[in-house]
């Protein structure tokens, strides 16, 4: 079930569109903002958008920043685009994996961090780069990573 707040936000979003379906990515993002990920609630949203659940599922599964499984409190997106790969993505990723004790695609047991690969953050001039939640970090080194992670613990 959608919460009252989610419902209101989606209703608001619908006002901006002449076609309800056009709001579907925004609606998915609203649910994700409140819960961290999008579960089977997708069925509720689809009614709002006058789409079938299959249609909405087809959209939700397409985008790599719509999470269909739970994620940790903070999502770390490590860029594996070509510029980062050339300038040190390997050692940076290794360091993250060891520090967090998890592999790419996993969440730490305490639920603090999820580590995800991402295709190019568009920060190639500051490679290697990563993003934690909405914050971008560039010119990464092992030492810098430790210091950054500290801030989120």
């Amino acid at each position: 079930m959608l919460t009252e707040e989610e419902r209101k936000e989606i209703q608001n979003e619908l006002k901006r569109h002449s076609h309800k379906q056009a709001a579907c990515v925004e609606a998915l993002k609203i649910v994700q903002r409140h819960r961290g990920w999008v579960s089977d609630e997708i069925k509720d949203i689809s009614e709002f958008l006058e789409m079938t659940t299959d249609e909405l599922d087809g959209v939700a599964t397409f985008y790599n920043q719509i999470f269909l499984k739970p994620v940790g409190k903070h999502v770390i997106r490590i860029c594996d685009g070509v510029s980062c790969w050339v300038t040190g993505h390997g050692p940076v990723l290794e360091h993250l994996k060891v520090s967090l004790g998890i592999n790419e695609g996993e969440t730490t047991p305490d639920g603090q961090f999820t580590l995800l690969p991402v295709s190019c953050l568009g920060a190639c001039d500051r490679a290697p780069a990563m993003m934690i939640d909405d914050e971008l970090y560039g010119d990464l080194t092992a030492g810098k990573i430790d210091e950054i992670l500290e801030r989120y613990k």
């Binding site: 901006r16 076609h19 309800k20 379906q21 056009a22 709001a23 579907c24 990515v25 998915l28 993002k29 958008l49 789409m51 249609e55 087809g58 959209v59 397409f62 985008y63 790599n64 920043q65 719509i66 594996d80 685009g81 070509v82 510029s83 790969w85 050339v86 300038t87 991402v118 295709s119 190019c120 953050l121 568009g122 920060a123 190639c124 001039d125 500051r126 490679a127 993003m131 909405d134 971008l136």
Partner: protein, 425 residues
């Protein structure tokens, strides 16, 4: 060298973008005022005369693209103008600079573009990762509405335009113009077949034009200063300036606005400060992940559409990625193909099946499990995924770095297979 840098003159490195008052003080929105006094046809003519070619990768003439839109009172309504700010190609990061650095310039451009095709509604399709750009654009849009540069009866001209920001949720194919239209409609964003072309039947079956951020940013300056001025900015047959970028093992990776037609050598040696200590130049993908490698003998190639094409690659986004002598070319191509395999939208079989196959073969070679015949197998895929065999330009783009790596760095592939290991590790 011509020192004029129209697109970046307002951008202060490290500083915030100009608020609307400051932007106006420096001549901002004058081009819009001028355009609104011209007829839409005249605006189109001026852009045609400037020979502006789209900066989104393909280099299609902007004026010609607009020319396909039905005009006049009988034209289907509403008409749409869309700014493509998806920029998800690995190695490309120049539009971000324009969006974060001078959002009003892009808005002014978008409003003029929309006016030229008499669009009723404009959208900016923004990549999810560009959080700061999103924040600054939202503010700029609000300011532009306040000052009546957007909304009903803009500056009393009788022309009205609504503009909205759409923030995507991450998928490379959304940057392809017809996939972008599906994304905007809330459908699964796979490409559409052409014809019909978007200019005739785009968004919800109505005319729509999609232009890239950098293209749009050029528009106010051409309108303000004229087509001849624009031609004079360039060192080559392709007009204007270009945002170029360099990343990889160079001393000062970055993005710069320079006359169209500077050489690859100048970009690397002068602007990017040359190679890092202990690394030497081996090759370059000149225009983002989906372009062919060029090598030392191409260092004096001019970075414009025709020259790069003549050299066997594409200008693409104009943001180059350097391969150095300590980096394994097989590994680099493997990284690129992993990206393309992940991002194929899966709509057509050759791309959906072929690119993961390429990725697997490259992975095997890189990890010492390559076999005789693998190189021929890769070449076979390059042919089958080349132009004309797939639904959209994604797959041909995906095989460009591979086909050229097989040409220029063949001995590396052969050595991996022969020695059953990667000698760079």
């Amino acid at each position: 060298m011509n020192p004029e840098r129209p697109l970046t003159k307002n951008i202060q490195p490290g500083g915030g973008p100009l608020a609307i008052d400051e932007y106006e003080k420096r001549g901002g929105y004058e081009a819009l005022r001028k355009a609104l006094k011209m007829s839409p046809q005249q605006v189109q003519e001026e852009i045609k005369a400037s020979n502006l070619r789209g900066r989104g990768g393909a280099g299609f003439p902007t004026g010609a693209k607009w020319g396909f839109v039905p005009m006049g009172d009988d034209a289907p309504r509403p008409k749409y103008f869309l700014v493509n700010a998806d920029e998800m190609e690995p190695g490309a990061f120049k539009d971000r600079f324009l969006l974060e650095g001078d959002p009003h310039q892009m808005l002014e451009g978008a409003i003029i573009c929309a006016y030229a095709i008499q669009a009723d509604i404009a959208y900016i399709f923004l990549r999810w990762a560009y959080k700061l750009a999103g924040k600054r654009l939202r503010r700029a849009i609000a300011e532009a509405y306040e000052k009546k540069y957007l909304g009903k009866n803009i500056l009393g001209s009788g022309y009205s335009l609504e503009l909205d920001l759409h923030v995507s949720a991450g998928r490379y194919i959304c940057g392809e113009e017809t996939a972008l239209l599906n994304a905007m409609e809330g459908r699964r964003p796979v490409p559409r077949s052409k014809p019909p072309f978007p200019q005739v039947s785009g968004l919800w079956g109505r005319p729509a034009v999609v232009n890239s951020v950098e293209t749009v940013c050029n528009i106010p300056h051409i309108i303000k200063n004229g087509a001849d001025w624009f031609k004079g900015l360039s060192l080559s047959n392709d007009c204007g300036t270009k945002l170029y970028g360099v990343s990889g093992r160079v001393k000062k990776p970055g993005v710069w606005e320079l006359p169209m037609g500077v050489t690859i050598r100048e970009l690397i040696e002068e602007h990017a400060g040359g190679m890092q200590e202990g690394h030497s130049f081996r090759g370059v993908i000149p225009g983002g992940a989906s372009t062919d490698f060029l090598v030392k003998e191409h260092l004096d190639v001019k970075m414009d559409f025709d020259s790069v094409q003549k050299a066997g690659s594409r200008l693409g986004t104009g943001t180059m990625i350097i391969l150095d002598d300590k980096t394994c070319p097989v590994g680099m191509v493997h990284n690129l193909e992993k990206f393309f395999a992940r991002e194929s939208c899966g709509w057509c079989t050759p791309c959906r099946e072929g690119i993961p196959w390429i990725k697997k073969v490259l992975e095997a070679i890189e990890n010492g499990h390559g076999e005789t015949g693998d190189i021929e197998l890769l070449e076979h895929h390059c042919r089958l995924l080349g132009p004309g065999n797939t639904f959209c330009a994604f797959a041909p783009g995906a095989v460009e770095p591979l086909q050229s790596a097989l040409k220029f760095f063949r001995e590396d592939f052969e050595r991996h297979i022969r020695e059953k290991r990667c000698s760079y590790r």
